[in-house]
Amino acid sequence: MLFSSMTFLWVFFPIVVLGSLLLRNKTKYQNIFLLVVSLLFYAWGEPVYVLLMLLSITVNWLFGVWIDKLPHYKKYLLVVCIVINLLLLGYFKYYNFLANSINNVLRSEVLSARNIALPIGISFFTFQALSYVIDLYRGNCKVQKNVLNLALYVSFFPQLIAGPIVRYKDIDEQIQCRQMTMERFTTGLRRFVYGLGKKVIISNCCAEIADQLFALNLESLTVAGAWIAAILYTLQIYYDFSGYSDMAIGLGRIFGFDFLENFNYPYVSRSIHEFWQRWHISLGGWFKEYIYIPLGGNRKGKLRTYFNLCVVFFLTGMWHGASWNFVLWGMYHGFFQIVERLGLEKVLKKYKIFSHLYCLVTVLVGWVLFRVESLSEGLRVIARMILPWRFNFFEFGELTTLFSTRKLLIICFGVLGAGVIQFVGKKIPTLEARWKYSCVECLFCAMILLYSIMLLVSGTYNPFIYFRF
């Protein structure tokens, strides 16, 4: 089930809110209710793989209990638990990628491809489960003996499908004790509405145009077309992902949970290092906590630091998708992290405008690698962006058929909302303070909600010229 679906907005969400409100003074029963609806939420999209998630929860809960009860063996238990989790993730997500790669290198079919459907959210719930057992091993949290509470942590529907990745230690107390208050309800709803608008209005609009441009025969793609596709995809992915995070955080808040922020206007960054402190913060935090720091972080000399960064960004790329273009995207970001540490960051700190442009262009080009189906396609698009004199620059007709007044207006809002408005708000704090949670803002959010629902309902309209039976 998607947050941006009418089944969620008009059936699931109101029922869950009303049910939780009725049980707001009975946390134990509310947890069971939220667990049941969360499993239903996941089963709605994965009626079979919900059992896989339940298996993962059960395995991690058991290992958690054993780690607590058998401290002498906790290291071995941790290793086995991590291996089981990674095997599950590896099989469902990476088996065919591995098979194709090995077969291509050896030029023969050593491993045959299998028809494996990727369970939705497996990367997210696996990482959350790993976070629990590792934190338990480290003594950063207490064992969760109630399997239902652990299940709720892993499967809680607001963050199950698309994050943020919630670490167990950040939420264990809230599972046992939290309050559904009027203020949390309204601030959560506000956050949810903004997230829905970001996804349905801005991201989907950018996606419409970006998809058309990326679908063009590459011979027809002009320099202008390539840049526009990259810029619009940059906006699309930000508003899609951060929109989902806003909805997740908002929903969590409605039910009394406080999740950590996942995005902090990443496109205002002045370096790739800063970008990764603002983009998908929960994933960066997870890799830092459980990979980078255990490898030594930046405490074992420069060469080791660069190696650790390569490992982290290799894994970051892999986490996003089982394809070499994702790996290249990850390593591309790792490369710039290293270059900045080699001295570029000092230059960037001196020149504000240059640093903003550098970061934007670097990220933009990186998104092309992320978006395309193959490396060769990505390189051909990027070639048009960085070697414009070699290609056809611009075709007026190409652009007029893609854009309309409505889309241009939405894209303008998208550009302004990616950091410009917030920058102005910080410069005029009284304006920001008067706006936030005011009646005018409430009306503005109501308009966003109305238009989002109109777009979603209209999206179900699928007419034909002649009657289809």
Partner: protein, 370 residues
């Protein structure tokens, strides 16, 4: 946060998440819930163990097709898009200049825009196959003593696109897909091909105050059909009276056509190019069509004792009023109802295969041979 502001947010929740379903329970039956989409809407899925895995998708599809206030919300969104931004609310329709609408199914139902830009053109191999197929059909009919004529009618986009479509990258209005096919068929065979594009363009110049295609529909109107029929009959050796302005009557207050209907705005965007022609056939015609089928069947006391079988698409509908009086019997079934056996059953003297440009791919496979 102030308590009054909290209350506002509760109102927002109630209005947008609770009220629609609640109010629809009481007032839904009084609202317009007609199906404008020309497809069967999803039925409510049954819950059963056997179909449990498919239930969520089936329920989502059903719920999306039956949302509370769905028709009203779609219409409001369409009105905002069309009148506010001059943009089509559906991707299959392009809003052109002067309220002209054009069809852009991107291959799902032909590709009129691709027919202009060349992206849907045939390869030389495909054209060879087409010629071979049609010549075989012609020869087969010839052995039975029947005449065979192919009629290709231009897309509205091909005739009116230059004037009313937004600027299209790569469009060549002088060489569209139909032009490609017609020129190839004429160069590589002696097939009889009727292609009224030039004649319609000539008529557009002769009658500048009239349009020959509907502005809100994919089809030609009575004037375009008249010229097209004239071309076909001329090929068959018959003469229709020249179109005269005094015979043309404009019809006011006509609802929008199939493209306006696709946008859900057929009662808001009126058709301005609807006409009738005072046409009197030389013979007395009796319409003996079977209302169950999508067909036209006429018998007449025409002195021409020939029977015409015209396998057609919807462009043939507007030709029907003009054709019946020229043959003793005319049968015009839709190509969807055509079968090879029809040739022997109907035993026509003349077989015409009529197709609009966006469906010209059908010429690759149309055949009268078993």
């Amino acid at each position: 946060m102030k308590k009054s502001n909290n209350a506002l947010w509760v109102v927002v929740f109630c209005v947008f998440f609770l009220a629609p379903q609640t109010f629809y329970l009481f007032c839904g039956k009084y609202l317009d819930s007609e199906n404008y989409e020309k497809r069967e809407l999803a039925e409510k899925p049954r819950v059963s163990l056997a179909t449990m895995a498919q239930y969520p998708v089936a329920f989502d599809t059903y719920y999306n097709d039956t949302l509370p206030f769905r028709t009203q919300i779609i219409q409001i969104n369409s009105l905002i898009d069309y009148y506010g931004f001059h943009e089509s609310p559906v991707s299959k329709v392009i809003c052109g200049k002067d309220d002209w609408l054009f069809y852009n199914p991107r291959g799902a139902d032909g590709d009129p825009i691709g027919d202009l830009t060349g992206t849907s053109f045939f390869t030389s191999e495909e054209l060879e196959v087409m010629v071979e197929n049609l010549v075989q059909t012609r020869n087969h009919l010839q052995t039975q003593g029947r005449e065979f004529v192919i009629m290709i009618n231009p897309n509205k986009e091909s005739l009116y696109g230059m004037q009313y479509l937004p600027e299209l990258y790569g469009a060549d209005y002088n060489y569209t897909k139909a032009d490609q096919v017609v020129s190839y068929l004429k160069e590589h065979s002696d097939l009889k091909v009727v292609y009224p594009k030039e004649e319609i363009q000539k008529a557009m110049r002769e009658f500048p105050k009239y349009e020959f295609y509907y502005s809100t529909d994919t089809h030609w109107n009575a004037l375009g059909a008249y010229i097209g029929t004239q071309c076909l009959l001329e090929e068959l050796g018959y003469e229709m009276p020249h179109l005269e302005s005094e015979n043309i009557k404009h019809i006011d207050s006509v609802d929008g056509g199939d493209l306006a209907n696709m946008m859900g705005l057929s009662s808001h965007i009126m058709e301005k190019n609807s006409y009738t022609i005072d046409f009197i056939a030389d013979a007395s015609i009796k319409d003996v069509s079977n209302p169950v089928f999508d067909e036209h069947r006429f018998i007449s006391d025409s002195l021409n004792n020939k029977k015409l079988l015209m396998i057609r698409d919807s462009f043939g509908n507007a030709m029907a009023p003009y054709i019946g009086g020229y043959f003793s019997e005319t049968y015009m079934p839709h190509r969807g109802d055509y079968s090879v056996a029809m040739i022997m059953e109907e035993n026509p003297d003349i077989v015409v295969y009529e197709v609009v440009e966006r469906y010209v791919d059908n010429l690759l496979t149309f055949s009268t041979v078993q």
